[in-house]
Symmetry: C2
Subunit: 426 residues, 2 copies
């Protein structure tokens, strides 16, 4: 029998890693709440048909899928949007529009693991459903930007590239290309940067050229068009410097309708940190036409975001400050002699009920080892319980200062030390 | 094409449900942190071998399992403990003992859905690893009780039934039953309440009787034995009234060694709300003997806990107070005329950056409808932006009171209203 290992592409979050991941979760939630979004949660497992209907049969090879004993074809969700469309469609009449909903949770894909691509990964999704206007587009883009601002990123670090697939209809009209071929054209355009030669050949078969496309991309957006209106809204929010229009962004999937955007690091060294757009037709697809629900959403992953924080001094400072506030314990109750253990247990219980994070030795431990244990859990305060109880000695472990307390004054004495500035923790 | 549905046994958490689930998560995390526990997270998918090694081949029929393209046998985790044993064993040298770790996350079982049993369900697991003493047993039991206390349950509502499998060794010795048959004996004993006749017959084949067993259960525990020491520790913490010794609790699985406990509602109307015990041999099993790591842990689910809260007035009051603090928005920015929208967007952005939950109409909306929208999102404050901007009108929507503000005084004006007592929200 061999030792059992973590499966490839899956990740063990040990406490020091999970703390960082929980920081991302907390910021995502905080900023979404400030924008009036409410959290929902879809099941981890869905009917495989949900993904097949959105993306065709070929999607199944990218999913972990299996059958239950009843022969139902089930899949681990590869993304959150289809579940949202299903849930919102099923109970649309119960909610006032627009719905501003977000979810944070794991998604899965059965692809070969590679750098920055895991088989289980976290997505933060935010969506506005039931409002087809550009004001909703701007609100959603603003949420993406404000989230990154809250992490500490400035306009030198991140940029939101804003586009709109509908604007290309003007181009098709100008170039005399049939609107029936819009989907085909956008799929070609999506490869403009990655495969310029292939794109040039394919554009020629449509009766246009890379030059014509590039000239169109370089034009200023019509201020009365959808792109211009989203830009004006974001400018009113003071976010214009975070945004660039970039019509070359069309996001490959047939799925999108209208506004699309992607958020990148300015240096373009990483993959997109977030991406989204309008998908006004999805609810009809999963509800078999019963529901017509305009929608826009974005997804932000944890992996690229983590890399981005690593590269930005301000973002790192904010993360470290958050981590410093969250040591395993603030207080370590020390037992000077084992006969005092019952008193120590009572004191620890009181301090915990007062809301403090408190640890203590669960088995007999030499007194000097207890100081090491206090340091290991990051405690600022040592509370020493010994034979002189109810007299208690309280130590500021950062300043090596000691004060006397009784059971009655203990909570306040500890609070005073915790409130006083301490040296920076490494 | 039919409408796509939620799979049977899986659950959609709509926002109003997820808020309650997040309340459970927040209390679980808060109390665990106060007790010096740190959070980790195992993958959702593990090697099927991990569960087979702990529970035998028959476990596979209760799991959702599948193969990846490389032929690896994978399973959705049915519980969290095996992953913890794997993770702790793999990096044991990196951590100071004892490890006090908790996880909150979904687990899965491929059984037929029934009342209170879903195919995807949430577990809160807390474990202490690397300390074999009764102090660790008591700390863990105390965490279970303090968690329920924090929800608002008193000694009239919940009871922790404490037992220890090793204590039965004294019984085996007294009755002249070979220790080799201890596992068999405990498996029989586990059915004492559910199948008294079957148990009587089986006990007879071991050369003992139900009467002898019941007489042993009725004895007071030895204060110097493990059970007595755990009780004394819990008494020092002021928790004795939450605890009853009950040797009939042995928890069926062969897996447990030593202390075991289950937490029930006093009325015994529901399944156990939490259960746990020592499992000192599991790390050796998953590490192929490389690691010897004493451990004790418990699991608490969300379903029974939810039912229990529903039955307890104090617990419901606490939940509702928490929910009332978490409306979708605190402030609704109203746009008296569309020409003022840019000002409204700027004001909303400022208030959001000040930390408030703020909503506003994303598309043009009649002024009276905006009051309905404000009420629908639970906003206490209406901030009216119109042609007289930068003069702003601020409304306390609960008391129908209106005050004037400017951009400079707005944040404080809003904060004052939010701090003032409001009528109870239905």
């Amino acid at each position: 029998m061999a030792k059992i290992q973590t499966l490839p592409g899956f990740h063990d979050f040990y406490p020091e890693d999970l703390k960082i991941r929980n920081y991302l979760f907390e910021v995502w939630r905080r900023v979404a709440h400030r924008h009036g979004f409410v959290e929902y949660e879809a099941p981890t497992v869905e009917s495989a048909e949900l993904y097949r209907r959105k993306s065709g049969d070929e999607i199944l090879s990218q999913l972990f899928h299996f059958e239950d004993k009843g022969g139902r074809e089930m899949a681990l969700r590869p993304e959150l949007t289809p579940s949202l469309a299903r849930m919102a469609s099923a109970r649309l009449r119960d909610y006032r529009k627009p719905l501003k909903w977000f979810q944070i949770g794991p998604c899965f894909r059965a692809e070969r693991p590679q750098k920055g691509r895991r088989r289980e990964f976290i997505q933060f999704n935010a969506d506005i459903l039931g409002d087809a206007g550009t004001g909703a587009d701007a609100e959603l883009a603003a949420l993406a930007i404000e989230t990154l601002r809250e992490f500490g990123f400035g306009t030198d670090e991140v940029v939101l590239r804003l586009s709109n697939r509908d604007v290309w209809n003007d181009f098709l009209a100008e170039q005399g290309i049939s609107f029936d071929r819009a989907g085909e054209f956008l799929t070609i355009l999506d490869k403009l940067e990655r495969d310029p030669e292939g794109v040039a050949a394919k554009l020629a078969t449509l009766g246009t050229s890379t030059d014509a496309v590039r000239e169109f991309i370089a034009r200023d957006p019509d201020p009365e068009g959808p792109l211009g209106r989203v830009l004006a809204d974001l400018e009113a929010r003071g976010l214009a410097t975070y945004v660039e229009t970039d019509l070359s962004i069309v996001r490959g999937l047939a799925y999108y309708t209208g506004t699309v955007f992607e958020v990148f690091d300015r240096a373009r060294a990483l993959r997109a940190v977030a991406g989204g757009g309008r998908y006004n037709d999805l609810a009809a697809l999963v509800s078999d036409g019963a529901v017509d629900l305009p929608a826009i959403g974005f997804a932000m992953g944890n992996v690229v975001l983590g890399d981005l924080i690593d590269q930005c001094a301000e973002a790192k400072v904010r993360l470290l400050a958050w981590l410093d506030e969250r040591t395993a314990a603030q207080v370590y109750v020390m037992i000077a002699d084992e006969a005092s253990r019952p008193h120590a247990l009572a004191v620890a219980t009181d301090l915990r009920r007062a809301g403090l994070r408190v640890d203590l030795p669960l088995s007999p431990l030499k007194f000097n080892k207890q100081f090491q244990a206090a340091e290991a859990v990051g405690a600022r305060v040592g509370v020493i319980i010994g034979s002189e109880f109810p007299a208690i000695s309280v130590k500021d472990l950062h300043h090596r200062r000691e004060v006397a307390a009784t059971a009655d004054t203990l909570a306040q004495t500890v609070a005073d030390i915790l409130a006083a500035p301490g040296p920076l923790i490494a």
